[in-house]
């Protein structure tokens, strides 16, 4: 090698250096290239003929699916055939496998099951099965993939075999549009390493029971029959995000839950995200003024689609603020009130002297978006400004639907409000187009 360098750059210019890179480096280069191009490198030269076959990651992403979906499943160059071909040619362990099964006519998912079997024998660590067809039954082979650290499933029926106890290495689990079926009946799955759990739009979630003592993040979106208290029962929980999609009248409640119980379960939670449907669910019963214990760990609070003109929601928000002495960041996305609703009671409450009787000492950043400029909104801003001595940044974004005059009015009003913090900077942004 030294001779080359003494000879200067000229000799290097014509050499084929890339083919001589160590295998793991070529793997990492090929993994950054779309899969069909990585496979295409097999016609570059003798050296490269089977170079792609040792790639540790196989990603058949959505772009790939779209491209090959039009060939049908089993047609020439059809999706299933291509995946089969790639798996056949591949050798060595496959650590990461992502497949988006496109929307095409499939009378059964036999091939997909076979892929999972193949992967389970190859020590797969990260598996993503996305499915645009009708719901499929998960193969039992999936539950043999015990080295899994990351699992993401879409549109399946989750039916593990009776003796399945849990994925002992799983750290991240995301289940979207999954039906847990009625058979589980309280089997507790042991997921000792699980750090992050996301359940989105799943059904029959009340059957899903896990033991995850290291769980740090929990996201539950539109799972209306989830047993939240059970899922929240984890000592390391740092981030909790719960949102419902439908108003409470539309579904049957499986759990007794109210604001107080909810918050008393969030002893270590630092990040809390909720939306208004869930909030309404929590406050269906009485809202306490002061909770039994303050949520001292809460640092970031995100309230999505809140209607400050609704007195109940307003009370709930104030309850949160009152009980979170260490809150550092507050984000509120507002949602329009029905114009027929009278916002008088809410405004009056906000103007009353002891509405928020504690100061938010640690509050540094506030962001409010989709504002329409109604009286409760403005009064809420005034309240926050007056009660946050450490405030550094306050951002306001009016709603897209408001006209220029309205935005101007909001800005004018907000400018007048007295501020408790000398360092507070106000930012007024135009809404995103």
């Amino acid at each position: 090698m030294t001779e080359n360098y003494r000879a200067g750059i000229v000799t290097c210019a014509k050499e084929d250096r890339i083919s001589n890179l160590p295998e793991h480096l070529i793997d990492s280069i090929l993994e950054r290239v779309p899969l069909e191009e990585a496979v295409r490198t097999s016609i570059l030269s003798k050296n490269w003929r089977y170079r792609w076959t040792t790639m540790k990651e196989l990603v058949f992403d959505q772009q790939f699916s779209k491209k090959f979906a039009k060939n049908g499943a089993f047609g020439h160059n059809g999706f299933i055939r291509i995946v089969n071909k790639v798996l056949f040619f591949h050798k060595g362990p496959i650590l990461k496998f992502h497949v988006h099964v496109p929307n095409m006519f499939l009378d059964n998912f036999e091939e997909v099951d076979q892929w999972v079997l193949f992967l389970s024998r190859n020590g797969v660590n990260e598996l993503l099965l996305n499915n645009s067809n009708r719901r499929s039954e998960l193969p039992s082979y999936l539950f043999c993939c015990l080295e899994l650290t990351k699992l993401e499933l879409h549109k399946c029926c989750f039916k593990p075999p009776l003796e399945f106890e849990g994925f002992l290495n799983l750290e991240k689990l995301r289940l979207e549009d999954i039906d847990f079926g009625a058979r589980l009946c309280g089997t507790k799955f042991n997921l000792p390493q699980l750090k992050k759990l996301s359940l989105l739009k799943c059904t029959n979630v009340y059957n899903f029971n896990i033991k995850a003592t290291r769980l740090q993040e929990l996201i539950v979106y539109a799972c209306h029959d989830a047993m939240l208290l059970r899922l929240l029962d984890s000592p390391c929980l740092l981030l909790v995000s719960i949102a419902f999609e439908k108003p409470i009248e539309d579904f049957v409640r499986v759990e007794e839950m109210n604001l107080a119980t909810m918050l008393s379960n969030l002893s270590k939670v630092e990040y809390f995200y909720i939306n208004s449907y869930f909030l309404k669910f929590l406050i269906a019963e009485k809202i306490p003024k002061l909770l039994p214990g303050a949520i001292s760990s809460l640092k970031h609070l995100w309230l999505l689609d809140i209607q400050l003109g609704d007195l109940n929601q307003l009370h709930a928000v104030l309850c949160f603020l009152r009980n979170s002495p260490n809150l550092e960041k507050l984000f509120v996305r507002h949602f329009d009130m029905d114009p027929r609703v009278d916002v008088g009671p809410a405004s009056d409450h906000l103007e009353s002297p002891n509405c928020l009787d504690s100061t938010l000492d640690q509050l540094k950043i506030v962001e409010m978006t989709c504002l329409k400029g109604s009286k409760p909104e403005l009064l809420f801003i005034k309240l926050l400004l007056a009660h946050s001595p450490s405030l550094q940044k306050f951002t306001i974004k009016p709603s897209r639907a408001s006209d220029v005059q309205k935005r101007y009015d909001i800005a004018k009003e907000v400018m007048q409000f007295p501020r408790a913090s000398t360092k507070a900077k106000m930012f007024f942004f135009d809404p995103e187009p």
Partner: protein, 376 residues
């Protein structure tokens, strides 16, 4: 090197000694060098503090790449830089020729400097993505040493449109032809040999694997081979565009030339009128199969012997195509190339799959997006 006697706090930088594989030793500021994990370990093990005990760097690190790596470290180890600054530095940093980039990747990997390995890998991946194999070979100086037989093996079909495939092939062959002509000027006769060899290999391949399940491939190769043999016999070029056997193509391409005589007649006609194209098309046979083979496999049902009717039809189509090509070659190239450009795989942002179930809440999607934004 001795420390300066007057100790000024700003000047008090400690230096360490590094030795590359070729024996040369250099002195580097410690704060810069410890950005590399391997060097950091060595320092903690006690090496590198003096000229007599320098840290020996792995063989893959030569002085040129070492200085590049140290430039990288020097920039990035300063804590106060913004992400934007770092990104723009990185963009400028990786602008170098491909060989240097490969060496840099290798060297950074041996020093366990993962951020630089990621950066260079990404740059190399960008050079591969979206390029045709010829372009990739050119960029990286990879020798084109696969035999035609190896290229025949089924692989993924990348471009869909048969016309673009065809044209890509013709274009590639033309380029190759030009290159070979240049080589011929320098008294290299390899080009001829390639073709002959591949014919022999084809023969042995076909003869040796008669029992193969993929009948079509055999049949087609035989067909092609037959034509080649006729080529050599009659001394009249015969064109075989292999993917004309798929019916789609047939309807597209063929205009129906009235008189279809025997092969010989056709050949004579061709040899008189269309010498250039036939040269071209003769050479493009083998490359055909590299890209076009997948097409034939399962849809067609051609047995071992070729139906004379089909053969005639193929001849017709071949002639037609040759004629068209000859007449408007430049325009066609432009037109079809531009079509090919559009069809190149482009990265487009994946649209978020919205909730297709007709959810009642109109803000549900944005809520979910908001929540997912915070999923780490």
């Amino acid at each position: 090197m001795s420390e300066p006697d007057v100790i000024k706090p700003e000047m008090m930088k400690s230096y360490i000694w590094l030795q590359t594989a070729d024996g040369s030793i250099q002195q580097v500021e410690q704060e810069v060098a410890i950005f590399c994990p391997l060097i950091c370990h060595e320092i903690h093990a006690g090496m590198g503090s003096s000229k007599t005990y320098p840290i020996s760097l792995p063989a893959r690190v030569n002085p040129v790449t070492l200085s590049l790596i140290l430039d990288y470290c020097r920039f990035h180890q300063v804590p106060g830089r913004s992400n934007k600054e770092r990104k723009s530095f990185d963009e400028k940093f990786i602008r170098m020729d491909t060989n240097r980039l490969c060496e840099l990747t290798s060297a950074a990997d041996s020093l366990q400097l993962k951020p630089l390995v990621d950066l260079t890998s990404r740059a190399l991946a960008r050079m591969i993505e979206g390029k045709t194999p010829e372009e990739i070979r050119e960029t990286f100086h990879i020798p084109d040493d696969l035999t035609e037989e190896e290229k025949l093996e089924p692989l993924k079909n990348i471009t869909d449109d048969p016309r673009i495939r065809l044209l890509n092939r013709l274009y590639a062959r033309k380029r190759k032809e030009l290159k070979e002509k240049e080589k011929l000027k320098n008294v290299e006769v390899e080009a001829e040999h390639v073709d002959d060899r591949s014919v022999d290999e084809l023969l042995s391949f076909i003869n040796g694997e008669n029992g193969e399940s993929k009948e079509v491939k055999t049949a087609k190769s035989k067909k092609k081979n037959r034509r080649r043999k006729e080529q050599h016999k009659n001394n009249a070029p015969v064109c075989a565009i292999s993917d004309t056997s798929s019916t789609n193509n047939a309807t597209k391409e063929s205009n129906g030339i009235g008189s279809v005589g025997h092969d010989d007649d056709d050949n004579r006609v061709k040899s008189r009128c269309l010498p250039n194209i036939n040269e071209l098309l003769k050479l493009q046979d083998s490359e055909d199969d590299r890209f076009g083979l997948d097409d034939e496999f399962d849809d067609c049902d051609i047995g071992d012997g070729i139906d004379p009717e089909i053969k005639e039809q193929i001849d017709r189509e071949v002639e037609d195509f040759a004629r068209r090509l000859n007449s408007d070659w430049p325009e066609r190239v432009q037109e079809l190339l531009s079509l090919g450009q559009e069809r190149r795989p482009t990265l487009y942002s994946v649209s978020v799959n919205g909730n297709g179930n007709g959810c009642s809440a109109k803000f549900s999607n944005s809520t979910r997006l908001e929540m997912e934004k915070h999923e780490k």
